[in-house]
């Protein structure tokens, strides 16, 4: 029944790429290692690769360790750049992973973690925390729980008809995002223009400049806690992406599986907004880049998106802190870089990797 199949010159995305998923993942791991070393080494106070490897070997108890290099070097690396690098990698990787999973769950390559209202919720929580003068932990937990509250609101709204369809979910997400954006504006309206207003605005623009070892210690486990189940259920996301009816016919508990994925996405997004403000575009652009590299199979796509997102964020952060004397807000830079990349991707991959 395949008469004419051989005549068709169209090849699958797998054959067209000429390399397998294993090679792509190896390449992405290498890229991440390079980006990590660069973000530890490059900066206003440059740390040479020799000093860097001496410090790094010292961590695992090999060689002379940090005593052998200038104190400024190991202080910059251990207290400033290492936490910043780890947080950047976890935020970028987490957001890209969350975006790739959401695109599969919602069967829509144009959604990202902002669509379900979580970012706006977390932004509101954080803005209120700054307004009333809470410290870092207060800001962090307010943002996190407000993000979760936004998801719960979406859940309640989308279930009005007894079940929650993808369309109702997306619509409810848009409504909740708009509501919380308005509340963020209200918060900034009440903020003190000399004090809390700039603090809120700069926090929302996104930055890793506030990274400290303490922040890394409570940020990284939270992201890992939510990212792990999402990565483990990646085969389920393949099945979910076929649509509710087919997924159900294939034996899935569709709503339960979808909400589990959405909770994980919320946890990752809220944690990253709480730590470094709203960093847009990563969750949208990186999954597309990864899909162009490894194809649409979420079993490979989710790890690839996480690796690529981490590298992308480290490189963008490197640009943010070294292009000009002052730091460029990350949210601004990811949009400036992301928008044109996304346009090019749309043109190049719409016929291969996904079809709307």
């Amino acid at each position: 029944m395949n008469a004419g199949a051989d005549d068709r010159a169209i090849k699958s995305t797998y054959e067209a790429r000429g390399f397998g998923p294993g090679a792509a993942i190896t390449g992405l791991v290498t890229l991440l290692l390079v980006a990590a070393v660069a973000s530890l080494s490059v900066g206003r106070y440059a740390v040479g690769l020799g000093d860097l490897s001496t410090i790094a070997l010292g961590w695992v108890g090999v060689g002379a360790g940090r005593e052998a290099v200038a104190e400024a070097s190991w202080r910059v690396v251990e207290l400033v750049r290492l936490p910043r690098m780890l947080i950047g990698a976890f935020v970028g990787g987490g957001l890209a992973l969350a975006g790739a999973a959401l695109q599969g769950v919602f069967r829509n390559p144009l959604v990202d973690p902002h669509v379900i209202g979580v970012s706006s919720g977390a932004a509101f929580g954080g803005a209120v925390a700054i307004l009333i003068g809470l410290g870092a932990i207060g800001l962090w937990s307010m943002a996190f729980f407000a993000g979760l509250a936004a998801l719960l609101l979406v859940l309640v709204m989308s279930r009005s008809a007894g079940t929650s369809s993808v369309l109702m979910l997306v619509l409810s997400g848009v409504v909740v995002a708009a509501l919380f954006s308005a509340l963020v504006s209200l918060t900034t309206y009440f903020a003190d223009p000399n004090d809390t207003l700039p603090a809120i605005v700069f926090w929302l623009m996104g930055s890793f400049a506030s990274a400290t070892p303490e922040r890394a210690i409570y940020m990284l486990p939270v992201v890992a806690l939510f990212a792990t189940p999402l990565l483990l259920m990646r085969f389920r996301i393949n099945v979910l992406s076929l649509g509710d009816e087919e997924a159900k016919a294939l034996g899935l508990k569709v709503e339960r599986t979808r909400w589990l994925a959405l909770c994980c996405v919320t946890g990752i997004t809220a944690a990253s907004v709480a730590n470094s403000g709203i960093i847009g575009w990563v969750g949208l652009v990186v999954p597309h880049l990864a899909r162009a590299l490894v194809g649409p199979d979420h079993r490979v796509l989710l790890p690839a998106a996480a690796l690529l997102g981490a590298s992308y964020m480290l490189l963008v952060d490197l640009m943010a802190r070294s292009l000009i004397a002052a730091e460029i807000p990350l949210g601004v830079l990811t949009a400036v870089v992301g928008a044109p990349v996304f346009l090019v991707l749309l043109h190049r991959t719409q016929r291969e990797a996904w079809r709307a």
Binding site: M233, V239, G243, A249, L250, L252, R355
Partner: protein, 248 residues
């Protein structure tokens, strides 16, 4: 294997689609659902598959069901192998990936339908008939005992219709699969089915052995036009043809 007792269905605000539909199907038997557009053929399939809940009556179905929808156009253009592998979903844990055994099962299903060469192609590049075979392979990979097909032979040319029918017959006779399918082609019912259900107007349902039910009179009544039964000389198969001149 499948037991339907006094099944009725209506959408929340709509009229009754069918009413008091009963049938029972043994292992290895094939049932064909016939009826005009909008009479509830697909709805009945979805009720059996457990995707819709009947408004009244009950359906009992033993074993794993493989559902083959009429069209398949995923947003992401997965490879044929990935699609067939998804048939293993019910055998793979929530936080697990398919094992080597699952992949072997998917490969075997592809080979069984003679489309092993498609494995690495994207489903987006396949024709309608090829996609139907991929979906049947996915059902086989899920270890289905029951195959539910929504117009599997629609949009196929005559040769591919024949291939599809012989494939289904082989699955029923050799693998003992129980098959329920919908079609607009009564000839297909005569060709492969043991039993047939005619979904007439609201509440009027005929069910029985295919030879008893698919008569000229019943089919003419069903479609609201003259249907003729031909027995081509020298062949064993019977044909049902529509007399288009009967509708003016």
């Amino acid at each position: 294997m499948i037991e339907a007792r006094s099944v009725a269905f209506r959408h929340a605000t709509g009229p009754w689609l069918f009413n008091d539909l009963s049938f029972s199907l043994r292992e290895g038997q094939t049932l064909v659902l016939l009826g005009r557009n909008g009479r509830g053929k697909t709805t009945m399939l979805k009720c059996i598959a457990g995707l819709l809940k009947p408004s009244a009556g009950e359906i009992r179905c033993d074993g794993i069901i493989g559902y083959v929808p009429q069209s398949f156009a995923p947003v992401f253009s997965y490879s044929v192998f990935d699609v067939v592998l998804m048939g293993r979903a019910r055998h793979v844990g929530l936080f697990s990936n398919p094992t080597a055994a699952d992949r072997d099962r998917a490969s075997a299903a592809l080979e069984e339908l003679g489309i092993g060469g498609f494995a690495r192609r994207s489903v987006a590049t396949l024709s309608g008939g090829e996609r139907q075979l991929v979906l049947i392979a996915r059902a086989l990979a899920s270890d289905a005992d029951v195959l539910l097909l929504d117009e599997p032979a629609a949009a196929l040319d005559f040769r591919n219709q024949a291939t599809m029918l012989s494939t289904l017959r082989r699955l029923a006779t050799q693998r003992g699969l129980t098959i329920v399918m919908t079609t607009h082609e009564p000839t297909h019912a005569l060709e492969i089915a043991d039993r047939a259900v005619l979904l007439h107007d609201i509440g009027r349902v005929q069910e029985g052995a295919v030879e008893d039910v698919c008569t000229e009179a019943n089919l003419s009544d069903l479609y609201g036009m003259q249907m003729k039964r031909l027995n081509a000389g020298g062949t064993t198969s019977a044909h049902i043809v529509a007399d288009y001149s009967s509708v003016r």
